[in-house]
């Protein structure tokens, strides 16, 4: 069975501080991993996916198969980064997303 774990429900940092949102997964195969973000009163939207190896809004995430992790990082947090972040996994066999429990990031001024 596939599972995604985000150990922190809430992460609070000051503006300008580095931020790392943790995500661990269990899946017997090669997963596709995503980070989705939900800003206050907005729809859930894709932030980035591991296959693209891109940086979006200063965020990056590296898939570490040895540690089965896909942590989201940003060197300098901004207040507008405050949001709910979900790590998600999709199996190569289908389209079904399995979400982690989510981490609420609060960036304080």
């Amino acid at each position: 069975a596939q599972r995604v774990t985000q150990p922190e429900k809430l992460l609070s940092v000051f503006k300008g501080a580095p931020v790392e949102l943790k995500c661990n997964y269990s899946y017997s195969g090669s997963p596709e991993l995503f980070w989705y973000v939900q800003y206050s009163r907005q729809r859930l939207q894709l932030l980035l996916r591991h296959i693209s190896r891109e940086s979006i809004k200063g965020f990056t995430a590296d898939l570490n198969k040895g540690e089965t992790s896909f942590h989201l990082k940003k060197p300098f947090a901004q207040e507008e980064d405050s949001a709910m972040y979900y790590c998600a996994l999709i199996s190569r066999a289908g389209n079904m997303l399995t979400f982690g429990g989510g981490t609420r990031l609060m960036v304080k001024p």
């Binding site: 979900y86 999709i90 389209n95």
Partner: protein, 113 residues
């Protein structure tokens, strides 16, 4: 220019009174999904359509049904809503394929009186 549109944004129904939530898309995606998201929880997949093929998650209650009359529209029917069904219901679409991202609507918040 919303591409996945859910109506209404807020829906109130009475305990046991059937309710239908709607979703439409302008992306022409093959796959449409319905998720239930309760407060402070992750979205939970209820079912999805791959074109006309309906795929129900094993733990989705029988009380929840869905219809997809054409590519653009998908409906979520709750036959006899209970208090525990109060939640945000999210519709999403994607192209077929495991690396295809899902595009979400704004959701419909369902309240049960």
């Amino acid at each position: 220019d919303a591409m996945v549109i859910q109506n209404p944004r807020y829906q109130v129904t009475q305990f046991g009174k059937p309710v239908t939530l709607s979703c439409s898309q302008t992306l022409n995606h093959n796959v449409m999904y319905w998720y239930q998201q309760k407060s402070s929880q992750a979205p939970k997949l209820l079912f999805h359509y791959y074109d006309k093929d309906f795929n129900n998650e094993a733990d989705t209650p029988d009380n929840f049904q869905s219809r997809r009359p054409n590519t653009s529209f998908c409906f979520l029917d709750i036959r006899s809503p209970g208090l525990g069904d109060a939640a945000m219901y999210l519709c999403a679409t994607s192209r077929a394929g495991s690396n295809q991202p899902q595009h979400f609507g704004d959701g419909t918040r369902l309240s049960i009186l």
